[in-house]
């Protein structure tokens, strides 16, 4: 299936980009299952992955309804190419060590807490409903993740070094979370979307508080790498999709 790149329905494209964030993040987190540092954390990471996958499924389902023509959530997940995915590049970054996974998650949890809270009053009632549920989940995700960031930052010399390196490495992908493009502005005007720029202050405040407890320095780096929202991804996404979409691509058009 092709043609999603030219998806013209702005409401669908808007729902889809947030769906993509959650789908790609869920895919990454699920790679941890059976590899966690302890059994309890295997359960926790699987649980967080399931939450993001659930949100993604709802959002892709909603987007597919908006697109119409019999498109399904699975079509959107398994039939689009890397140029058609519109997730932020932060979520496609490899898991790395546990500190990298926690840094990526901290940045996303703090962002999604604010995002879902704002989208819970969207003029799009379905999006608002999904956001309200996702907001509750993001609150405990943030608690779980920030607990680990503090433990690692404050723990041993090794864990501190790893946590600091993870924050330094991933910082350049955080600016994209708050970038406003034409679609965002259009959606704000229609009352469906959220002014992302207004979230960056509260986000930085929350991150700084966790970093202080973790004795982690926030980078001064101002150069940012975005582009995901227009399909200009890092090289990692193609590999993630080739694994995720393998069955549907190998055996096209079947029910599983």
């Amino acid at each position: 299936m092709t043609g999603f790149a030219t998806m013209t329905d702005p409401a669908a494209a808007y729902v889809l980009r947030h769906g993509d964030d959650n789908l790609v993040l869920a895919q990454r987190l699920s790679e941890w299952v059976s590899l966690g540092p302890e059994l309890e954390e295997d359960i926790a990471l699987a649980n967080v992955a399931l939450d993001h996958l659930g949100v993604a499924t709802h959002l892709l389902g909603h987007a597919s309804q908006l697109v119409g023509g019999g498109t399904t959530d699975d079509d959107l997940a398994f039939q689009r190419t890397e140029r058609e995915f519109t997730n932020v590049v932060l979520v496609e970054q490899p898991n790395g060590d546990f500190a990298h996974t926690m840094a990526r998650q901290l940045f996303m949890d703090a962002y999604q807490r604010l995002l879902w809270e704002a989208l819970a009053v969207s003029e799009d009632a379905i999006l608002a409903g999904i956001a309200a549920k996702a907001h509750k989940e993001s609150l405990y995700h943030f608690r779980h993740t920030s607990g680990w960031v503090v433990r690692l930052g404050d723990g041993t010399d090794e864990s501190h070094t790893r946590m600091q390196a993870a924050v330094d490495n991933l910082w350049r992908y955080t600016g994209e979370l708050f970038e406003m493009d034409d679609l965002d502005r259009q959606m704000v005007e229609s009352g469906v979307g959220v002014d992302l720029g207004a979230l960056s202050g509260p986000w930085l405040h929350a991150i700084a508080a966790v970093a202080a407890d973790a004795m982690i320095a926030l980078p001064d780096e101002v150069t940012q790498r975005g582009g995901g929202r227009r399909g200009f991804h890092t090289e990692h996404l193609g590999h993630l999709l080739s694994e995720m979409q393998w069955m549907q691509r190998t055996y096209p058009g079947l029910e599983w």
Partner: protein, 321 residues
Amino acid sequence: MTQTTAGETRFQTTIDADDKVEPRDWMPEGYRHTLIRQIAQHAHSEVIGMQPESNWITRAPSLKRKAILIAKIQDEAGHGLYLYSAAETLGVSREDLVDQLHTGRQKYSSIFNYPTLTWADMGTIGWLVDGAAIVNQIMLQQTSYGPYSRAMVRNCKEESFHQRQGYEIMLTLSRGSAEQRALAQDALDRWWWPSLMMFGPPDSESTHTEQSMEWKIKRMTNDDLRQKFVDMTIPQAEYLGLTVPDPDLVWNVEREHYDFGDIDWDEFWTVIKGHGPMNRERIQHKVGAWEDGEWVREAAIAHSEKAAARAADTIDARGAA
């Protein structure tokens, strides 16, 4: 010293009355050791059993299947934790049991030493492997040790959901395209005999069965459980339109059971002794994850010690002021 102590008498009375032995009760050392071995092996099986299935999470063919698979594996990790806790009531530590797994001194179910090669294997694992586990665990709900029995009651509820979702994958494949039916048949061909081996060696060669039956740890023998599983599963295979890879399989009117062919016990013992297709990989994966996580666990301990010390300093400072 042949005199029977009060503890021994009470233990035997409990067993005879089909009551439950509880952690603080006196119990023979052999009973305690048998249970530790069996519960630990069960816990290890849940944890190692996560690997063949997690192999397919990132490639699951639909969003729904991916979510169900993650949830199922999460349940298995939960069962592992629950069973380690049950073992700990017998006076061992989880750390020690995990170490025994990592160093090959304790075992896990032989079935997890086979690779999951296609998506259809997610169907057969749910249908056959979880199906066999349920037959065993329904029996273990009646086991004489209280904490183990109660753990099994809870496990069985989740396992029957697992078994149904596995069968539903098989049903979808068998009602699908020719390619999908071929995937389903291939998976059944590979998993059938290893599933029968899950019940352990034949009664004639089972070293633990007799004593375990006397203590009511086990309530049915390996061969009886295996027969129950075969009888239950064959109609399910027929409904799927799949062929069980056993030319000797036939309904025995007199016995009112299926007769089935000889199990390749050489293969079973080869796998048990560590030379199956995936034994080394499973343990390497587990030990690797454990070693990779060591700095994380150390950090968690170091942080909690530092936090406790800081809290104590704060209290001291207040006291001094």
